[in-house]
């Protein structure tokens, strides 16, 4: 089993490998954030929007960038790798803790939305009839609202906390998962081995878990990756609008928002968390693409 996985990884195209490397780096940074970061999450360490190693103050003298950074930081009490944010906190530290908060919340939300979506979708596919009709029409109603507006509405009424955030996004996302899992389960449900299990007298839980789930797994796993990206972006968008994670907790979306003003002064600070969001999203997508192709049985020569 493990050998099969390793073999599949070795045979993966370079894009998938790149994506995997990105994910592994992100997860490592996320897990070891307290060890790797030079400062505590919320400590103010310097001036507002101090430059990082890219600063070109000394390039006229023709010194390499990293030497330049040493030059600038020689007199400083603390070294800031990526500069500081709008309150003078170390951007690198914030980025690591931000990864922690953003990624873990996105992951929990995606898992929750899949739990809800898959169980409802499979239930609709196996029971059919009014259960299917009821669930599907309910999902249609939720999907009729623009997701962001719907989330903003609920969050501004209920108030923002991590728990509420997770539940709201998970439910909104579960509608998409529901549609996919219902469709793939419908395909499997008509197979004769499911009929055999029904005729054996198996309960619905067995049908869903043992007969249908293993055979619908590839498209669902691929969808999991995509959904994770969407949740992650959605979370960042909410933070950007001020309804996501509340300060001083670091997260990538609000880091972009808080530092957005800097861009008018030609300071790159807000681009750093934005790039982090973009890179992780692309990385996950590369892996998911590969997985989708494998799941669909497509080959390059076709």
């Amino acid at each position: 089993m493990l050998r099969d996985v390793l073999k599949a990884l070795l045979n993966a195209p370079w894009s998938a490998k790149l994506g995997l490397v990105i994910i592994v780096i992100n997860v490592t940074l996320m897990v070891f954030a307290p060890v790797l970061s030079p400062f505590p999450e919320t400590e103010v360490v310097g001036d507002v929007w101090e430059a990082g190693f890219w600063a070109n103050d000394c390039t006229p003298e023709g010194i390499a960038a990293y030497e330049c950074w040493d030059e600038i930081n020689r007199d400083r009490e603390h070294k800031v790798l990526l500069g500081t944010d709008h309150l003078g906190r170390d951007l690198f530290t914030r980025l690591l803790y931000g990864a922690r908060n953003t990624i873990s919340i996105a992951l929990v939300t995606t898992i929750l939305s899949f739990a809800i979506g898959i169980s409802c979708g499979f239930l609709a596919a196996t029971l059919r009839g009014w259960v299917d009709q009821g669930l599907s029409r309910f999902v249609d109603v939720i999907m009729a609202f623009p997701t962001l507006i719907f989330a903003l509405m609920i969050l501004s009424v209920v108030g923002t906390s991590v728990g509420v955030l997770i539940v709201v996004i998970a439910i909104l996302d579960a509608t998409r998962v529901y549609r996919l899992s219902r469709a793939v389960a419908m395909d499997v449900e008509v197979m004769e081995y499911v009929e055999v299990a029904r005729l054996r007298g198996e309960r619905i839980w067995w049908l869903m878990r043992r007969e249908i789930l293993p055979n619908t797994l590839p498209p669902l796993v691929a969808e999991f990756g995509l959904r994770f990206c969407f949740v992650f972006l959605f979370l960042s968008a909410l933070s950007f609008l001020g309804l996501g994670l509340q300060p001083p907790t670091a997260d990538w979306g609000s880091m972009v928002k808080e530092n957005a003003g800097a861009i008018t002064f030609g300071i790159y600070t807000p681009l750093v968390p934005a790039a982090a969001i973009a890179i992780l999203t692309i990385g996950v997508n590369l892996v998911v693409d590969w997985f989708l192709r494998k799941a669909a049985g497509l080959r390059d020569e076709y």
Binding site: V196, R200, G201, R299, E301
Partner: protein, 544 residues
């Protein structure tokens, strides 16, 4: 074709499918290619057009068509050739026609595209061909869509399409395999006419030797991508040289001696005036007033063409499609119409085996899991006891403990069907419904399965309700026969009564339509029938 080698990409590596086969075909002659599935027949057939399926490649040998080397020709040359000088008739006409266009529009496509003739010429020639191939209403049938004509008619329309440009070579890839015996005759007759008419060469691919014998001059027997035997059709049928050919030729004589048990003759299942319809009580009726009895340790065969309602009968008995009328009595107790209301014990005693073992086994479960579940579900058998029983079951179906951890994808078609049988046996049933269990298998494998089923009946005293369209199977396995047509029972009785004269009209038609190992069989049959005018359209329509 000389020393043709073709490789296919399978299980992450290239495997040779065709291993150096030489084929030579003269103008106006017909070559029959015969072999089991996986023998490489279709691959060779398609290769004669200079084409191979995605995931395959031609690695050696040469294909010469009328002096032109096809393996090294460019795509443009091949395109010019295909459809005009070489054409192809696929197994499933239903899947090969574009459902969104009328038949005639698809017919004229090739001649017009290749500039052989203009639209109106092609259309009038198409109508002539439809008439020649005995399609009903040849003037207007072209205006129908593929779903508006029957399977046999569609296959004949496909033959007409292949003939449109008067090709020099037509490749027929199992054109009658998916059809009923009575429809098969119409298509075979059309193909034979077509070849005679155009004086074209043809390659006829089939796994049924009797069918190939009707149309070919020469026959080539293939196995595992290699040639076993080639020779004149008549000579081969009369005196096959190789053992393998002899095995293919041997008519099924798999009836084993029946062991008689004391319980035999007790009525196990009674079906009383059962009617069923799809789409609720007001829907289309599929079964009307079916009555039959199944006694213990006996086999009752339900025979009929597709659409006669035989599989629906199985669904009604198992409770998947609750009957609208009538009752099903099992050992004197009336069963609830839907399987949902039946208790576990009842479900256990009535098991079912399906036609396609591929979809009847969960691809993500090992043999151990497939067979273990009914044991733990019905008998609460777990752990070591369960494992031992599974091995015992595997031995009963002539497999062994090495198969325990295999997934269905690692089994051959015959082995899969055996595992399905073992799954049914695991429940220790009194009765098994076998729905076309041998139809998807090669003949030799199917014989093995039938023999196994009979042995198990002798050992385990189980009764079979055997649904099939294949009369050879019926002869081999049944004690009693029920002949069905359009949802009704036409004839019902012991095997020897049904299969000996005087026959019922429809039974006789079915029996006469089974191809025989006689190259003149088709001509003789058509000759006899021409007098009786039975050749127009599906005969079943005339009977009702």
């Amino acid at each position: 074709m000389q020393g043709l080698r073709i490789e296919g990409f399978q299980e992450e590596r290239w495997q040779e499918i065709v291993k150096g086969v030489d084929v030579e075909l003269d103008r106006g002659r017909v070559l029959g290619l015969i072999g089991e599935s996986g023998a490489g027949k279709s691959t060779i057939g398609i290769a004669s057009m200079g084409f191979c399926r995605p995931g395959c490649r031609i690695t050696g040998g040469s294909i010469t068509f009328d002096g032109l080397e096809l393996t090294s020709s460019n795509d443009e040359n091949l395109r010019q050739l295909r459809g005009v000088r070489i054409s192809y008739v696929a197994q499933s006409a239903a899947a090969s026609f574009n459902p969104a266009h009328r038949l005639i529009a698809q017919y004229v496509e090739a001649p017009v595209q290749h500039g052989v003739m203009d639209m109106s010429q092609a259309e009038s020639q198409g109508k002539r061909l439809y008439k020649r191939l005995d399609l009903p209403d040849p003037e207007n049938i072209g205006n129908r869509y593929p779903h508006q004509v029957s399977g046999g008619q569609l296959q004949r329309a496909m033959v007409a399409m292949a003939m449109a440009c008067k090709p020099d070579l037509i490749v027929f890839d199992e054109p009658t395999t998916a059809l009923d015996v009575t429809t098969q005759i119409e298509v075979l007759a059309a193909i034979k006419d077509a070849i005679r008419e155009l004086n074209t060469a043809a390659i006829y691919i089939s796994h049924d030797l009797a069918v190939v014998a009707q149309v070919s001059d020469r026959i080539m027997v293939l196995r595992y991508g290699e040639m076993v035997e080639i020779g004149d059709a008549r000579a081969m049928i009369a005196a096959p040289r190789e053992d393998y050919t002899r095995a293919l030729l041997s008519v099924r004589k798999v009836r084993e001696d029946k062991v008689h048990h004391a319980e035999e003759g007790d009525t196990l299942l009674e079906v009383r005036d059962v009617s069923a319809s799809y789409g609720g009580p007001g829907g289309v009726p599929v079964l009307e007033d079916i009555t039959l009895d199944l006694t213990r340790c006996n086999t009752i065969a339900v025979v009929g063409e597709s659409g006669s309602g035989k599989s629906t009968l199985a669904r009604a008995i198992t409770g998947l499609l609750p009957p609208t009328k009538g009752s099903i009595v099992f050992e004197g107790k009336e069963l609830p119409p839907s399987f949902k209301q039946r208790d576990k014990e009842m479900l256990r005693r009535l098991q079912m085996i399906y036609q396609m073992p591929d979809v009847a086994l969960n691809p993500r479960q090992t043999v151990q899991q497939v067979l273990g579940r009914p044991l733990s579900f019905y008998f609460g058998m777990e752990g070591k006891a369960q494992r031992e029983r599974v091995v015992e079951l595997l031995e009963q179906i002539e497999l062994n403990a090495r198969y325990l951890d295999r997934f269905p994808s690692e089994l051959s078609g015959g082995e899969k069907q055996r595992v399905c049988i073992a799954r049914a046996l695991a429940a220790k049933p009194d009765m098994i419904i076998c729905d076309e269990v041998t139809s998807a298998l090669d003949q030799l494998v199917a014989d093995g399965i039938l023999r196994l089923l009979q042995r198990l009946q002798n050992e385990l005293k189980v009764s079979y309700l055997f649904i099939t369209h294949d009369l050879a199977t019926v002869k081999a396995i049944s004690d009693e026969i029920v002949v069905m047509l359009n949802g009704r029972v036409v004839e019902h009785g012991p095997r020897d009564v049904i299969l000996s004269p005087p026959y019922h009209e429809y039974t006789e038609l079915l029996l006469a339509s089974v191809p025989e190992m006689d190259p003149d069989w088709l001509d003789n049959l058509l000759h006899t029938r021409a007098g009786a005018r039975l050749r127009e359209g599906p005969i079943s329509e005339q009977l009702t």
